[in-house]
């Protein structure tokens, strides 16, 4: 029997991972040089969460998907142009700062408030999804804090798979040390799931989905509430690029035999 789920995906926007980043000092504290003009993408692990959520919604008729995203309005709009082509969702945008140097507790407070304000949200059917770590701060704490604020204490991190069962329970695979997954079964929603890579490829662009999404995305962006993030006493002593540059020996003429012999000797050494 299918289960009508309500899935809220929390996903931030981050500089495209292929960009070169340089720290900069801004009036609000440390930031990234030219942050506002760097091409941005939906945070990769949170994007996995979005695709997995869309798949669950597809398989369970009556389900609904919201995408909650905090970022500067203009940037959100830009990223949503692409994301909206992929899967159907209702956008819940919050207009505020992005970047890795903001405090996760403040971000979580804002996101929890945005989720709690979604009309007609039914907690007994609620799954909160997101990436287990962002590509900016990479702290892995935002979803947990949202869960605590909303009183949800069934939480999973580093999730690669969810299997919904007939009775509404679900099995979750979470990444643990040593290249293994921990297997758990949760009896029912609500739950928080921080996703790792999952099992789905990025969906192809679908202009029909895009058109349908954009009808609600644009008005939602217009209405987006503006927020400031509290630093919660977080301060930075230094922010810098790693300096170590190695002297690289480039060997162009060695035979495979000679290279192999050198590598065997190298890996055999204690240090």
């Amino acid at each position: 029997m299918p289960h009508a789920l309500q899935i809220v995906v929390c996903a931030g926007i981050v500089p495209d991972p292929l960009q070169t980043l340089e720290p900069a000092t801004t009036p609000a504290g440390p930031g990234i040089k030219n942050e506002m003009v760097l091409p941005a993408v939906l945070d990769p692990w949170a994007a996995s969460a979005l695709y997995e959520a869309a798949e669950l919604v597809k398989k369970n008729p009556g389900s609904k998907l919201w995408l909650v995203s905090l970022g500067p309005k203009a940037k959100l709009q830009q990223v949503m142009m692409t994301v909206a082509q992929k899967v159907a969702f209702e956008l819940v945008p919050v207009d505020g700062p992005i970047g890795g140097f903001t405090d996760a507790h403040a971000t979580a407070a804002v996101l929890a408030e945005a989720i709690a304000a979604i009309p007609a949200l039914d907690k007994t059917r609620l799954l909160i999804f997101g990436g287990w770590e962002s590509a900016t701060r990479g702290a892995g704490v935002t979803l947990q804090l949202i869960g605590e604020r909303l009183g949800i204490t069934e939480q999973f991190q580093g999730v690669d798979q969810i299997d919904l069962r007939e009775d509404g329970s679900f099995e979750v695979l979470e990444r643990v040390e040593g290249g293994k997954h921990q297997v758990s079964v949760c009896t029912a929603a609500p739950a928080v799931l921080g996703w790792a890579t999952g099992n789905l490829a990025e969906p192809r662009n679908n202009p029909q989905i895009g058109m349908a999404n954009m009808r609600t995305v644009m008005p939602a962006l217009m209405r987006a509430k503006q927020v400031k993030l509290d630093a919660n006493t977080l301060s930075y002593v230094s922010v810098s690029l790693p300096k170590q540059q190695r002297e690289t020996r480039v060997e162009k003429e060695m035979t495979p035999e000679a290279i192999a012999a050198e590598i065997v000797e190298w890996i055999g050494k204690d240090n």
Partner: protein
């Protein structure tokens, strides 16, 4: 004055603390010594007296939560246990290993105590006020941060401190009681990904990174995926290395192309993968920032084998780059390693 609590948990056997927990004990000792602070150690996940057996020589106050429900790594129970230990110790600074188990719950615990958390901490320095170092933007920018609010929770990354090693002795452990919270989650065990064998070995001295070049057309105009698989597995067997992969190589699996059957996303290194810690790393058939810069961030000595003499990413990042055909070199390597055995 600061009061420091180190939270530690049992390994899968339930009989000892994880190495990562013992590393965090060292971090706690060093910080307590520097700040002249009291140190307590709180234990979760098994038989307290057994788990604490090497800890008396730390001189720390030992606290533990025991009971069947707290043996499993699960949010509701672990959060309740860590919350109770933090309250019992009245800690102003709580250090815990950034393990899968504690990373799952510690932000929630900090929130319950009205505290704040920072994670993936490398080292803790500073003088009168502690300062913690960590990476941002997936290991591309490093920062040192501080907080004046307390309690301050810090999750310390594996490999950042030496593991505490103490003489075994009778430990006086104070049992902290906590009501078992309502749980809706049952942990049934562990599952290794569907693959022929375990290729991720966190304790290996060497990380072998395989790139997409292994499945690309070679100078003879053909691909040699099967041979690539045999060579890589042969090398892992011969050397005991752990296997990392570039995203391009693991992603091929989900796009229906022939791909190395023993690779999964768990092997991926880089921004959207892992940044494992090993003393040495050997990258093969890779190009680009991800495997070399980010994937290698916590690798000590680094070498690469690539056909591309102009790969800018290895320059300045690797100690040695061999411009050569990895098929030929790894075949020879495997012969030499087999002969050595």
């Amino acid at each position: 004055m600061e009061k420091i609590l180190v939270l530690a948990h049992a390994d899968d056997s339930g009989a000892s603390l994880t190495r990562h927990s013992l590393e965090t004990v060292t971090a706690g000792q060093q910080l307590a010594a520097k700040l002249g602070a009291e140190l307590a150690i709180g234990i979760v996940g098994g038989e307290a007296a057994t788990l604490a057996k090497t800890l008396p020589s730390t001189g720390a106050k030992l606290l533990a939560i025991s009971g069947e429900a707290f043996k499993q790594a699960r949010y509701a129970t672990d959060a309740a246990a860590c919350e109770a230990l933090s309250r019992a110790a009245a800690a102003t600074i709580v250090l815990a290993p950034h393990s899968a188990r504690f990373a799952r719950v510690m932000a929630g615990v900090a929130h319950r105590l009205g505290g704040l958390i920072d994670t993936h901490i490398g080292t803790i320095g500073g003088d009168a006020a502690p300062q913690a170092s960590r990476w941002f933007y997936r290991q591309r920018i490093e920062a040192i941060l501080a907080r004046s609010a307390r309690p301050w929770f810090l999750l310390v990354d594996a490999g950042s401190y030496a593991a505490f090693a103490g003489e075994a002795g009778g430990a006086a452990v104070e049992a902290i009681t906590v009501e078992t919270p309502a749980v809706r989650t049952t942990v049934s065990g562990f599952r290794a990904p569907k693959q022929d064998e375990q290729t991720i070995r966190p304790d290996a001295k060497l990380l072998f990174v395989a790139g997409a070049g292994w499945t690309k057309k070679q100078p003879d105009g053909q691909t040699h995926v099967e041979e690539a698989g045999k060579l890589i597995l042969g090398f892992l067997h011969g050397s005991g290395a752990s296997l990392g992969s570039s995203k391009s190589l693991v992603d091929q699996g989900s796009e229906g192309n022939s791909v190395l059957p023993f690779l999964t996303h768990l092997n991926q290194v880089g921004q959207t993968g892992a940044t494992p810690r090993h003393p040495k790393g050997l990258a093969t058939c890779c190009h680009g920032e991800e495997p070399h810069v980010v994937g290698w961030r916590f690798i000590g000595q680094r070498r690469a084998i690539s056909l591309d003499p102009n790969c800018g990413w290895t320059r300045g990042k690797a100690d040695v780059v061999y411009i050569a055909d990895a098929f030929q070199v790894v075949a020879k390597l495997n012969e030499l390693l087999a002969a050595k055995k």
